[in-house]
């Protein structure tokens, strides 16, 4: 019988690889009887979804970092000098 540590490790791995039939049965049985691991399963799904949506979240976030003005000036200079060479 799997304990919560084994079950949570398998849950994590299921995001990387297909679990074997034996692993899957063991995990399903454990989840049936373990509320904590069902909670963990939900949290993993949330984390996974959050990662997919992280780019759009940047708008939601207060104080999202901005490219500092001196870096902008420097980059503009580099671009202009390269453009000058190209033309």
């Amino acid at each position: 019988m799997l304990n919560c540590k084994d079950a949570s490790h398998l849950q994590s791995q299921s995001y990387e690889r297909p679990l074997s039939a034996a692993e899957l049965i063991g995990l399903k049985l454990h989840l049936l009887i373990c509320k904590g691991c069902r909670g963990f399963a939900q949290h993993l799904r949330m984390i996974h979804q959050a990662c997919r949506r992280i780019d759009e979240s940047q708008g939601v976030r207060a104080n999202a970092p901005e490219l500092p003005p001196d870096a902008k000036t420097r980059i503009l200079k580099e671009l202009a000098s390269k453009q000058g060479k190209n033309s």
Binding site: N3, C4, K5, D6, S8, H9, S12, Q13, Y15, E16, R17, C34, K35, G36, C37, R38, G39, F40, Q42, H43, L44, R45, M46, I47, H48, Q49, A50, C51, R53, I54, D55, S57, Q58, V60, R61, A62, A64, P65, E66, L67, P68, A71, K72, R74, I75, L76, E78, L79, A80, K82, Q83, N86
Partner: protein, 196 residues
């Protein structure tokens, strides 16, 4: 998008997409100076590659694609430098401490995770994202790097192993540890309603 795909205007790329690219790079690298360099290199590369830009995707998507490659190149280069390799060479060892804190001697949760009442709604809350970003930043560098490659760049375990020269078992352990860390950090930093 205000930039016409037919007009090459790198200054406008910087104005319109500079902050976005910077945030993107900062998220992956967690290093402000490196993120600035990445934006600069991306725009310079875009200037050289401009003639090959088909205009089929938006300028932002195109620039982000270049940036992703630049970041991967940097990760690749850093993987070879000793100062960026983890202090604890064995991630299995490193994770023992967290596992010991979260699980008891029989491998059961010390404090079992509880379901969130409305997980979908969390993703629309600024509070959630602040906690999430904070928790991502709190990950150890190696864990953060592997987790980003896997969950945000959608790299396969095989690709990550090759990039960072680790075994797939180590990779799974690192990802597990990163998720445990994130989950545990969110639990303490984000208040949520529970039910079931």
């Amino acid at each position: 998008m205000a930039t016409s795909p037919l007009h090459c205007d790198p200054a406008a790329w910087l104005t319109e997409h500079g902050d976005y690219l910077y945030r993107y790079a900062l998220l992956k690298l967690r290093d402000e100076a490196a993120a600035e360099d990445m934006v600069q290199e991306t725009l310079l590369a875009a200037l050289s590659a401009w003639e090959r830009f088909s205009g089929q995707s938006s300028v932002r998507t195109w620039l982000t694609g270049i940036l992703k490659h630049k970041i991967l190149d940097l990760f690749r280069a850093r993987a070879k430098e000793p100062q960026y390799t983890p202090a604890s060479a064995d991630p299995v060892e490193e994770m023992a401490a967290l596992e010991q804190a979260l699980f008891d001697a029989t491998g059961h949760w010390v404090s079992p995770p509880q379901k969130w009442a409305d997980p979908e709604a969390c993703l629309d809350q600024q509070r959630f994202w602040e906690a999430f970003m904070h928790c991502l930043e709190a990950l150890a560098p190696l864990h953060a790097r592997v987790f980003h490659l896997r969950e945000m760049e959608d790299a396969s375990t095989a690709e990550i192993c090759k990039e960072l020269n680790i075994t797939s078992t180590n990779c799974w352990v690192i990802l597990y540890r990163a998720r445990l860390g994130l989950q545990n950090c969110l639990k303490t930093n984000f208040e949520y309603g529970t039910n079931e």
